[in-house]
């Protein structure tokens, strides 16, 4: 199957769904589910035929001869891991949106999102990468703008402003790269060893920092998350943020290794600040979904610290934690959104005693929360342990500071349990109905199973993840 099908096919499919999907909700839902499952199968196929070390060329298309500008598609283990993660999350997002209103439009937008995101992870051409990068935002705007909560316009404008300013920086950087090297191909850029990339490095770093997000470019995220419907929060945290981290690894660390080594301390410092700052924010927060959002930012700080090690082990740990973060934070967002939907309140003070009313839902919330604070047996612990070891190896013993971060995590998570799950049953909880759609609940169960499975058997993931950086490490690039 041509990769182009997965990049441009969804656009056609989305149009079809939008035009003919009205009043055919069930068909629409199954069609999108089928597409996402197909994407997953395709990604797994790619993994199977991928050589142990190196790339798989998927061809070049749409060449504009004079400028060396063409749609070059290439995958390595890093891209394939991201593709698998994305397709799994898309499947789970589709399941979680089973009872969403205005079904056909919603699912058309989800399908529309699947195309460019595939393009982002496959493209090795900077310009096409950028085009896909921007195109992912279009369905996102509508999904937040139409299905969002009361303050969605403000959140969407803020999101728009942040990401577009960031995009301009990225685009400018790409032009500078083109001016310096005469090519837009990432692999060629890396090999050409740019002579004066300081400005380029900063432009790219700040541009991608916004998406990850890293302090001080993070304030769009809590607003966007709060206003977005719960499944779209999953997409934001699980896919869009990961796109930023992916780009940070691929285009900052791996494409500009010299400058990254020079400015590693910047990445490290901002990562640590993000870890603690967002942790303290979460500790102070009484708004359930904002608490989850800050917890998400805090974990991305941890990913940033891991990236800052610029080492084989550190980058593997970062990629693992990215997956862990997606699996952990998604059920938290879904449950937070569901609780708001049913109780009409965001305030943790209004809740309490949920365990008595909805024990299974509470149990999954507790499991995901424990994973967020890094309890062994969950994927969160493996991420924290590997990052701690890699960071100490690269920067010395004072990085045991990271351990303190997981204490703050324990603080806000356990205190959230106390306020929402345990304790005496509150009036709001007593009078609300927490029966959940079975398909939506199944999505939560799958998240829970994945959290525990990869927590107990992390080698299933690390086998693939290590292969993402092993070839570069073998060449002495890390």
């Amino acid at each position: 199957m041509s990769p182009l099908f997965f990049i441009f096919g969804p656009m056609v499919l989305a149009a079809l769904v939008a035009l003919y999907g009205k009043k055919r909700d069930t068909i629409v839902k199954f069609v999108s589910l089928a597409l996402f499952v197909w994407m997953l199968i395709y990604a797994l196929e790619l993994l199977a035929i991928l050589p142990d070390s190196g790339y798989l060329d998927l061809g070049s298309y749409l060449a504009v001869k004079d400028f060396g500008f063409e749609l070059t598609l290439q995958v390595d283990h890093l891209s394939v891991v991201m593709l698998i993660l994305t397709s799994v999350l898309l499947i789970l997002v589709a399941l979680s949106s089973w009872t969403m209103k205005r079904t056909s439009t919603y699912f058309a937008l989800l399908i529309l999102f699947a195309g460019p995101i595939t393009g982002v992870f496959m493209s090795t051409d900077l310009l096409w990468f950028f085009i896909f990068w921007e195109l992912t935002l279009v369905p996102m705007y509508f999904l937040v703008g139409i299905w969002g909560a009361e303050g969605r316009i403000y959140a969407a404008v803020k999101f728009f402003l942040y990401t577009h300013v960031a995009s301009m920086l990225i685009l400018l950087a790409f032009f500078l790269v083109y001016k310096e090297t005469g090519t837009m191909n990432m692999t060629l850029v890396r090999e050409s060893m740019l002579a004066s990339p300081v400005l380029i490095w900063w432009l790219l770093f700040i541009g991608f920092s916004v998406k990850m997000p890293i302090f001080p470019f993070h304030t769009w995220l809590p607003d966007a998350h709060v206003q977005a419907p719960a499944p779209i929060s999953v997409l934001l945290a699980g896919v869009l943020l990961k796109m930023g981290a992916y780009a940070m690894i691929r285009m900052v660390v791996l494409m500009l290794p010299g400058q990254s080594a020079h400015f590693a301390w910047v990445i490290l410092a901002l990562g640590l600040i993000t870890l603690f700052y967002a942790g303290f924010m979460a500790l102070y927060e009484t708004h359930l979904k904002k608490m989850v959002a800050y917890s998400s930012i805090s974990h991305m700080g941890l990913v940033t610290v891991a990236i800052a090690t610029l080492s084989y082990s550190g980058l593997s740990a970062a990629l693992f934690e990215m997956i862990g973060h997606a699996l952990i934070i998604s059920p938290l967002f879904l449950i937070a959104g569901f609780l708001h939907h049913r109780t009409g309140s965001w305030q943790m003070g209004d809740m309490g005693g949920l365990m008595q009313k909805a024990p299974y839902l509470s149990a999954i919330f507790v499991l995901a929360g424990l994973a967020a604070l890094g309890l062994p047996g969950t994927i969160g612990f493996v991420g924290e342990l590997t990052i701690l070891i890699a960071a100490i190896k690269s920067y010395g013993f004072w990085l045991i500071l990271i351990a303190l971060g997981s204490m703050i995590g324990a603080g806000y998570i356990i205190w959230t349990f106390r306020r929402v799950i345990y304790g005496e049953i509150s009036q709001t909880v007593r009078k609300s109905d927490f029966r959940m759609d079975h398909v939506e609940f199944a999505a939560l169960v799958i998240f829970a199973v994945l959290i525990v499975f990869f927590g107990l058997f992390p080698s299933t993931l690390f086998d693939v993840i290590n292969a993402a950086f092993a070839p570069i490490a073998a060449q002495g690039g890390l």
Binding site: H164, M355, T386, W415, N466
Partner: protein, 616 residues
Amino acid sequence: MTTLVLVLLILPIIGALIAFTSGLKKNALAFWTAEVTGTLLFLITLILLVDYKDPIDIPMRWFEFGSFSIPFGIYIDKLSLVMLLIATGLGLLDIHFAHDYMGEDPHQPRYYAKVLFFIGGMILLVSAKDMVGLFVGWEFMGLASYLLISFWHQQKDPADAGVSAFLFTRFGDIFLFAAIGLLFYLTGTLDMVKLNELSQAGKLDEEMMFVIAVFIFIAAIGKSGQFPLFPWLMRAMEGPTTVSALIHGATMVNSGIYIVARLFDFYAAAEALMVVATVGALSAFIGATSALVQRELKKVLAYSTMSHLSIAFVGLGVGSLAAGMTHLVNHAIFKALLFLGVGAVIMSAHHVKDMWRLGGLGKKLTWVALFMGMGVLSLSGIPPFSGFFSKDAVIAEAILNPGSAGLIATLVTIAGLLSMAYIGRLWLLTFAGEPRDKGLFGKVTRPSAFWIVLPLGIMAVMTLLMGFFQEHIAEMVSNGPFEEPHVAGLFFGLMSGIVLLALIIYYYYVKRPDLTEKIAAQPLIKTIHSILFNGYYIEKMIFWFAHNVIIESFAKTSHWVDQHIIDAAVNGMIGLSQRITHIFGYTHSGRVGDNSGAMTLGLLLLLAAMLTGGAV
């Protein structure tokens, strides 16, 4: 052998799953699953003990990331076996006891699943070869204790107690976590046996070793409820009494001592043992004095646990692995006995825990009184009960070691003597004299012989018999010949002190209760009483710090910065951009789609212009 060990590790998890799922509707099924699993675990441990020749050593790898590999091996030597016997043996008796104690509870599947998970965590902890495995077991227990302490989560106090337990122990745990990172950095290995060898060979940086040893000890302080991380242990009394017995006897609090014992050579080489002894002596004193004035049965026992674990820590700290560990073993048995005994009393007295409402129960609960009495004698250190030998050994070792002969030996001796006072007071107020609450006394029921009294009897006999096998235990835990320390006049001094204290409390609490009230009304006594009663206000201080420094300073400042500096700047830019877009008039609707469309279009135009420009 290997298979048996793996079964031992996996069985609790399987049992927990069965108890939880198959028992969803039937409480009895959940109990029997737990009872059978507990029995099997104990039998397997016995087989391992009988067949023991050399340490069972199974190196395994968990996963590899980048260029590192994380080990997850199994190592069971005699020290581990002793801990396993305690965990599975006392765990089994605890499950058995719960048949009646938790018999009325509608959520038994959940209860037994968590109990099995708890025991499983302890088994993993003591069987681990590497620090990572130990940490996993360590955290499993932390989680299980959190869930069990707040088992009655519908109520405010147990829910709060769970939070306290998790966060206090977690604070210690992050130091253990950091220590793992440091050890990996420093030595490249997490194998605890190898760490002991490496440190003895003098191949490690001494300052770093000291830091790591202290970090690990902070984790031990958290888990074993030592100063200053003990308040969670007292709050944990909100959980079911069987859970308290499990935490204080079979599992959780022992793990702190175990980790120091496991890394004993490392601690000796790092010269960190004196830190252990000092904190231990201080905690022993605080625990013993606070236990003197508690009103609740379980709180007395909780403070006494703190104090007695400290005595074990002092034993280790003054350099005697044998003395410290035997005291831990003896303590585990008599403390489980006392907790379950108190559980029987509470159950019979319709969940009244206030000692001042009991009294005279010896007439109705004769066997419970008798067996608890044996536990009392063991705890206060009266021969031939086991508690005497180890406590005596620790005090003697503390006096003999020149580093601890002064303050540490004094504090630990005081704590040792005061045991008689607080535990005697508990027993007398509960069982002796006249009932103070006649109405309650009339309603007291008799406990079942098989489910309640039998486990008490077994433990009472154990605590007596163990007194005759002290040397064997000492040799097992320290892997070498054991020489009993001897200090001239110590035995006579301790005994006369204990007898004197026993007479005083008998007179004070039984013969002249009127005197008690008069003395307690004195202002100075009142002040001292309230300091002791509140555990020296350590909990208040920690809460003050957490609230005022962490939340109100750090977190609030972050919040302020976010709102008034970072977000304010962004909002300013949004205002500016809206004014600019207004000029173009196209996007004044504020619809994001229009905005993004226009922006993307602009960017594409710009792109085209630059590209063609570049080409021309």
